[in-house]
Symmetry: C2
Subunit: 150 residues, 2 copies
DNA sequence: GCATATCCTGATAGACACATGAGAAACTCC
DNA sequence: GGAGTTTCTCATGTGTCTATCAGGATATGC
């Protein structure tokens, strides 16, 4: 559903949100994030940079530098994080590719599909990073295992 | 949602189902299908061949040859047609890639996502080609425009 | 100003999906 | 059995995604 880069981005943001919390906390270094979520740090650097350009993260260089959330986790949705890396299913997008809906696809299946696509889109647009961290039974455990003190 | 090849396949099968009907009717030639649905015929040949190997279509060579539905359109689902070209979302597949679900993803979002993935999967597995042709208001028009007598 | 730490950027490579082209194989009809 | 029609198959090209590598730019602390 999500491509590799969007997947990395979401994991990274979840990690930063959990470590950094609000905005005043200390920044997460790229290498630490990469190690924690099991992604090559060379590649993750590009992903984090893209997230910074998109306004999802802020970055600072030099010692004690790193990445922080640009906004609160409660204001940040999956769509915000994954959007820069892949086109999320939009309303009015047909089951059959991106051609105009009216003339190409039987309406019966189309309406059903539209309903489903709307639900998926809604999920991405309304599910926040904060809500993903709320039910901490699973994720927090794993992430904490690998996070280390400064 | 569907990749390019699966998209081509679904359009092609819809066209064959509409033209050929049951099984005794005359076969559709690859070039005619390609022209009707607007897909390069060289590439569509591969797609049709894959569908034949998968048991979705049957083919016959030579004059009056072409492609026919292997089974009735009412027995053929979107999953049958698209399956050979892409992995449809499966149950137990996590939002975050293919890692095991339990330890990596917050449960709250996971459960929501699971529900949605189940719906999408169900749609692909239960929607038949016949039902897509039933509401013929839209599709039939376009397809008929470009179909030509033998 | 120097050393260190960290983000940032461009060039490059591999894998894969998508697409094209040419010719072989098989079938039908005369 | 020969000509014509159509599917089938192999080789190749193109573009995108994923990933790696090397080095530049910038901030901190001494």
């Amino acid at each position: 559903m999500l491509n590799q880069s969007a997947d990395h981005a979401l994991r990274a943001v979840l990690f930063v949100a959990q470590r950094g919390g609000g905005g005043g906390a200390r920044a997460c270094r790229a290498r630490a994030i990469a190690a924690a979520i099991g992604v090559p740090h060379n590649y993750l650097g590009k992903v984090l940079n893209t997230l910074t350009s998109a306004g999802v993260l802020t970055s600072s260089r030099g010692p004690r530098g790193g990445f922080r959330l640009a906004n609160g986790a409660a204001l940040m949705t999956i769509a915000d994080v994954a959007g820069p890396f892949q086109r999320l299913p939009e309303r009015r997008v047909c089951l059959l590719g991106d051609r105009p809906c009216d003339p190409t696809l039987p309406c019966a299946a189309h309406r059903q599909w539209q309903t489903m696509a709307d639900q998926v889109t809604g999920f991405f647009r309304t599910t926040t990073i904060a809500s993903m961290l709320d039910a901490d039974v699973c994720a927090t455990r794993t992430l904490n295992q690998e996070s280390q003190p400064s």
